[in-house]
């Protein structure tokens, strides 16, 4: 009786330990699941090129001011747009050049992360070309000019006249030696 009970208890413990292990793995499985979920639902696709909708039209009666902003965080680069703002019609494609310069004597990998104001602009902004789609590798003291091509769709709410597109460059792991921390 007693040995049966302790055997049953150990079986139970093993089951629960396996369950615990499964839940630990599940916690990690949430990471790819979350990425896939965002990709499928299109929630977080700021770093992927958009496809132009065929029946695109240009709303020539309306003007939107687009302001361009550029920042770096924790890496010795200079980063700026060659024009600070542009006036465009909704639906009209535009290309803007940005310039980055590596001020240090090491090779650095950087990744630009976009941020929009107002936040829901990402629903109406279609980017075909952007330096943020891939990582940028700059040799020591190298300077590079890179384009962003995009359209703001006419579906943008009519009360919005000014929008801001901002990019921040972060350093990626795997850069040359003397990494900043």
């Amino acid at each position: 009786m007693v040995t049966n009970l302790s055997k049953a208890n150990v079986v139970m413990m093993k089951k629960l330990l396996v369950f615990t292990l499964i839940m630990f793995v599940f916690g990690y499985a949430l990471v790819p699941f979350y990425e896939k979920f965002c990709e499928v639902t299109g929630i977080n696709n700021l770093l992927k090129p958009d496809v132009l909708v065929k029946e695109n039209w240009v709303d020539e009666k309306r003007w939107i001011t687009v302001e361009f902003d550029a920042n770096t965080r924790g890496l010795p680069w200079q980063f700026k747009p060659l024009q600070t703002s542009a006036r465009i019609h909704p639906g009209e494609a535009i290309s803007v050049m940005y310039e980055i310069t590596n001020d240090s004597d090491r090779e650095i990998n950087g990744q630009a992360i976009p941020s929009y104001s107002p936040r829901f602009l990402d629903k109406h902004l279609k980017k075909f070309e952007c330096f943020c789609f891939t990582k940028q590798v700059l040799k020591p003291y190298e300077t590079r000019q890179m384009p962003v091509q995009f359209v703001i769709e006419p579906g943008l709410p009519p009360e919005i006249n000014t929008v801001t597109i901002s990019y921040t460059f972060f350093e990626l792991p795997g850069s040359g030696s003397v990494a900043t921390k």
Binding site: L5, M12, M13, L16, F19, V25, G27, F170
Partner: protein
Amino acid sequence: MAAVHGDVHGHEHDDHHPSGIMRWVKTTNHKDIGTMYLWFSFAMFMVGGFLAMGIRAELYQPGIQILQPELFNQFTTLHGLIMVFGAIMPAFVGFANWQVPMMIGAPDMAFARMNNWSFWLLPVAATMLVGSFFVPGGAAAGGWTFYPPLSTQGGLGVDLMIFSVHVLGASSIMGSINIITTILNMRAPGMTMMKMPMFVWTWLITAYLLVLVMPVLAGVVTMLLTDRHFGTSFFNAAGGGDPVLFQHIFWFFGHPEVYIMILPAFGIVSEIIPTFSRKPLFGYSSMVYATASIAILSCIVWAHHMFTAGMPTVGQLFFMYATMLIAVPTGVKVFNWTATMWRGSMTFETPMLFAIGFIFLFVIGGFSGVICAIVPIDIQVQDTYYVIAHFHYVLVSGALFALFAGVYYWIPKWTGHMYSETLGKWHFWLSMFFFNATFFVQHFLGLAGMPRRIPDYNLQFADFNMISSLGAFGFGLTQLLFLYLVIDCIRNGEKAPQSPWDGATTLEWTHLPSPAPYHSFETPPIVK
């Protein structure tokens, strides 16, 4: 503290167990371990309470007087962590250790040695957590939810916090495995699942929730650790990660966690209300199903903590409706407690007072929870004192009041002595008054827009903050009365009869003398 208890148990029985400090270090007895859990959680309650006093002292007046902002942030962070993981959770595990074997007629917990280990992990974790105040850079200061990027940037204190959460999680998982196995395999003959006391049911469901979500917490803090030191980028946007992902995984743990802290409280109240109403619990089986539904729903509502973090409207609607749905089984429970009291022969000893106080105040906290679940309102009150008031109504006047009720209810069985009813009533009424003075006004502060986790505030908030701080000081002092009362009960209390409560029907009152013998139910009782 150990000495006090050693004395109590020592002279009453002739058991052949080691005496002195080694008895407590090596013990595998569920009653000893339960006692240690309870004293440990009370000590942590005092530490967390000290931090709360510091926070309220700083907020007594506008401006910076006592705590510099950095230290203030450490105080709020550690207050939350210590109260949740150090005080409330171990206290309920202490109750489970004492009560579950006695209430189901088992001789001890299923894995006695593992039980000892899961307790002794706690002081280790607590030392790391409290000790982190004294390392360079101080303790973690990014809030008890340790969101990145703050938690990926902090110093050594954050690492200590991460290790401490690992250890506490391991302790909780072992405790839960023990409790589940004990309840499922070791019930006395005749005690079917649907004859188990409500407290045992709520703990069974809580223990399942713990093994479900604690490993996820362990996973998410491990990801933080590797992000901090081993170059991974789970939560680092620059490396392709996402800080919002942390919030999703954390709250997948964090929301069931709040039910882990309230379901055993429901269980304690479901034992006390029938006893002092001298009627069986109204709607026992609906109570079981309501508890299970709350547990299941708690796993699909996590993102209501993140309405302002960026989410599609469809997601907000889903989490809003799912959250509001929890009010249904919770309402069933409140209805059943009220119906149990209806036409009962009620008396109002201290356990009953705390249980009724629990129902009143928990319902207030429940309603403010439904209000917070409404997306447009939540966007308004997010990170304000309204939220602080809400979760202190469910955690202090919910979980903590139920713990007090449980201590008063079972202390005659644990110590063999009655507590002082006069002091108990003083403790209740003072706690009731000061609790509401502290937290009720915080609803107004939150609605007026006072943000949480900030050491200074606008002058318009000064009056309510002063009231709240005075209430908090009173509430803190009142708990010293509780400490005195418990020690007085152990040392000088009147001898308790086997069942001092005439409505009590569970096994520990009907089959065991007071104090409960060191070894009980070595031959299982027959339950009809």
